[in-house]
Amino acid sequence: MEWFRKSSAPQKGEPKKEIPDGLWTKCKNCGEIIYVKELEKSFWVCNKCDFHFRIASQDYIRLILDDGQLEQFDDNLVSDDPLEFKDSKKYTERIKAARKKSGLNDAVITGTGNIDKKPVSISVMDFTFVGGSMGSVVGEKIARSIERALEKRIPLIIISSSGGARMQEGILSLMQMAKTSALLALLYDEKIPFISVLTNPTTAGVMASYASLGDIIIAEPQALLGFAGQRVIKQTIGQDLPPGFQSSEFFLEHGFIDFISHRKDLKRNISLALDYMAVQPPGQK
């Protein structure tokens, strides 16, 4: 089971961006040397051991949406600094650096597109931006994405990848959990389907809000999923964690996700599920 444990818990010091720059790369899980072009063709999954490399939000858009076409909304929203938070670095500087490094304005891109010609409202989180953390911008963009699904009466897809709420925005970040979940209550009552996709990692505040509220929940293999951080759990209980703890497979075993999907099948799985979960006419509470 050692291979299993290793991949489910990202090692310390591992670069956040898993996509290699060179011609050849080594699989983080099995050590296989892989030609990058090959890896690209296989959706960034190791063809020897099926390890799913972490990919950018844009890659999911290309993978899921017809022709990789997203009509993006709300990309003009950026973080403010309501707490004037400062540790070794000012929060404003941290955000500036993240924007420069990732080319993104925050940790989620949102918009509309088609999946096998079915229109959807979609949000894709990006771990490269401050660990995919949810502050006011992520909360607001997800909220608007839910509202778009409500207005247009189209299904909602959220692909999560997040370490949780963004500490530097304090309680405002916490309240994004309530804000997004409150709007999901409206979607729920309107019988508009919501598919939640969990990728490595989806934990804490994001896992404890919208990511757990899908009508169906799909996870990529061997993703780290959970509420509390492993270090905190270890410290609290004073013992080692069992192998495979807080992985996609663990979540499936305990009944908290519907199934695990290989990345190459993700679009097909979402598309099929959407066929069964047709948006119901308004007023059918």
């Binding site: 309501p82 916490l174 309530a178 409150a182 404890a208 009944g255």
Partner: protein, 319 residues
């Protein structure tokens, strides 16, 4: 009375006054002038200390071992309390209490996170840290209240949702997430008071409602100062709690300024434990005022108002 580290000068002066009184009584001495001088000195000292509390000091007051807990408030102003148990699925989480009760003849449903007073009770209550079954027990309560049209009153007081193997196996994240959504679908008024600690998702999991009030010395944050310090300062994080609490803006005053809560409830100088009964009266009055405000609303107005309240939260810029 137990004193906190920063209350040491107050403790010493209070001790001096009571020793002097004792001595004077025994010797039949007239020292009322000295007492008067010392008492006014004490008053000034208390004001100096309590009016300039740092955020971390307020966290310490919120955790004071003698601070009133949920069941204490229920004892002060709830009549005919019938405690209900269990989530009907797995267990009865002792870190959360709930039941029917009356506040001035008004029938309500009460839910509270519960800490223990002594070592045994603390363990019994799991230090006020809920497992998933605690959130599911609360949801069962909310649903029951909804069915029988009883307004819900919630007391928040937790150092966090429990981080353990069983809690993860039984879906801590799912239990909290579900409550966030379902509390927006409950068709009766929900009034919440943060009475002590409001630690992150563990608090929010029973914290979505129409009115949220905080006691003056309670705290509410996305992470505890200790948790924040451990993430930001790998070396000696214990020396950084003050800075972390300051950075995170964890106090009730901060939450009010950030537009997260509807108002604050005053505590006696030094904290609620200095006079639990007078604190309880203020808590009760605020609950009644809030229930009065909410009772006139239609279900639609109530739900729209509740969702709208959270919809507005967040601070961002547009470029």
């Amino acid at each position: 009375m137990q004193y906190l580290d920063f209350e040491k000068p107050i403790y010493e002066l209070e001790k001096k006054i009571s020793e002097l009184k004792e001595f004077a009584d025994g010797e039949n001495l007239e020292i009322s002038n000295e007492i008067k001088v010392l008492s006014s000195k004490l008053e000034k000292l208390q004001k100096d200390i309590y009016k300039k509390l740092s955020r971390w000091q307020r966290v310490k007051i919120a955790r004071h071992p003698q601070r009133p807990y949920s069941l204490d408030y229920i004892g002060y102003f709830v009549d005919d309390f019938i405690e209900l148990h269990g989530d009907r699925g797995y267990a009865d989480d002792k870190a959360i209490i709930m039941g029917f009760g009356k506040i001035d003849d008004r029938k309500v449903f009460l839910v509270g996170q519960q800490k223990g007073r002594d070592v045994k009770q603390r363990q019994f209550r799991n230090f006020g840290m809920c497992h998933p079954e605690g959130y599911r027990k609360a949801l069962r309560g909310f649903t029951l209240a909804d069915r029988f049209n009883l307004p819900v009153v919630i007391f928040i007081d937790t150092p966090g949702a429990y981080p353990g193997i069983g809690a993860e196996e039984r879906g801590q994240a799912e239990a909290i997430a579900r409550n966030l959504r379902e509390m927006c679908r409950i068709k009766v008024p929900i009034v919440i008071v943060v009475i002590g600690e409001g630690a992150s998702g563990g608090a929010l999991g029973v914290g979505v409602g129409d009115r949220v009030y905080m006691l003056e010395n309670s705290w509410y944050s996305v992470i505890s100062p200790e948790g924040c310090a451990a993430i930001l300062w790998k070396q000696n994080p214990q020396e950084k709690y003050e800075e972390a609490a300051h950075n995170l803006k964890v106090t009730a005053q901060d939450a009010l300024e950030l537009g997260i809560v509807d108002g604050l409830i005053d505590e006696p100088l030094g904290g609620a434990h200095r006079d639990p009964e007078s604190t309880a009266i203020k808590v009760k009055e605020q609950i009644i005022r809030s229930l009065d405000e909410l009772e006139g609303l239609s279900i639609e107005e109530l739900i729209r108002g509740r969702i709208g309240k959270y919809r507005k939260m967040g601070v961002y810029k547009e470029v």
